[in-house]
Amino acid sequence: MSATETIRSGNRVRDLNPATQVLGCLVLAVVALLFGLVSMAAVVVVCFVLAAAAGRFVAFVSTWAKTVLVLSLVIVALQTMFIPGEEVWWEWGPLSATGEGFRRGTLFASRIMGAATPLVLLVQLVDLRRLVLEMERRGISPKVTYVFVATVNIIPQMRDRMGVIMDAQRARGVETDANWWVRIKAFFPTIGPLIISSIVGVEEKAITLEARGFTATGPRTSLYSIQDTGVDRVLRVGAWVLLAVVVVGRVVLWLR
């Protein structure tokens, strides 16, 4: 193990074992869903605090506001406007805001917010390289982790190739920026060559991987290692206990 290098960022929250981070965020999402608005608000606050502790507050808030917050607001607004009800707040042309719609909207929006906020946090905390290492350490097949990593790496490559194809097609006279119909027609000469060239390239990739022992069986070694500390274990046990407590608590509340 001495020959391996541990990947560290220097931040204690981000340096937790990825398994701990994943479990923690999933438990938060479950807690948020089980007890309505109060638990949702509590979970969102916890996520903000954790993001700040991880030093990712700005990135977290900007992603959160652009996705979760926007969708929640849109859902509340559309439900308020379009769901008919007795309790009409005001009318504006064909639209009428109703109390029933507003309550229905906040119900759906709070579910989405409660489940999605911990996921935004998780994306900010987890480092892909560490997550993959941890997955392999826990015995997940390298084929699975390869698909994961290759996908993340291949997207920028293919985006570059798409740019090249678009330029080439423009050079030979395909218009890409005119009216709607012209743009639709430009879609096919761009996506077609992109797909065909990628598929033909698959064989080359297969040969390259075979030559490097990808399908070889037996134990593997990695240049990097990952730590699973006592703190991680304590936190994971704590997360499981919390999960058990809230699920049992919810069931008890239902039965009463």
């Binding site: 996705t67 926007v70 969708l71 008919p84 790496n153 997207i155 709607w180 743009r183 761009t190």
Partner: protein, 206 residues
Amino acid sequence: MSKLKDQFTLMAILLIPIGVAINLLGGTLAKQLQMWIFLDSIGTFLVAMLAGPVIGLITGGLSVVLLSIQDPTLLPWAILATAMGLVVGLLAQQGFFTRWGGIVAGIVIVVAASVLVSVLMSIYLYGGFTTSGISIFTGILHDNMGLPLGLSVTISHVLGETVDKVISILVPVFVIRALSKRTLLKFPLGEIYVNARTRGTSDAGA
């Protein structure tokens, strides 16, 4: 179970990242060219047609998981994407995408399945409205024309899904037609298309 293992050849596994990338880029391109449909399942369909239902299912699911990194509110749509990969893969195994009649039938089945799943998800998870442009249409149908919510969501989804799925199926069909027999045969389902082509040479010249 041996059938399941046959689908996981190295070539099929390597196809997954490409399928996911095509999904994401198709979606980006559709946005860039300001088309109002998603076109984000072309890769799933292509992979499902070449490598079968299980690989197709994984491609669909993984695409949505990756999209969710930027927008976690999309994560539930993974259910729809995996269902689509599965359905197209099963149809492909039966040789649906080798004849025009089969392709048309395939499109009808895929649209029906996708409308069913997406309507159920829209209603039960998001309450009928999402951030997509089609939600406004749902609202108008529901509020101004007095149609029940379930019906309004269904009508607006049928319109969006039909155009989207017709294109998303036809692009892979034409791509497969353009691939050489040599390339096709390397993928688990390639033989189906090669056989259809050999049969077709006598009358259609495909």
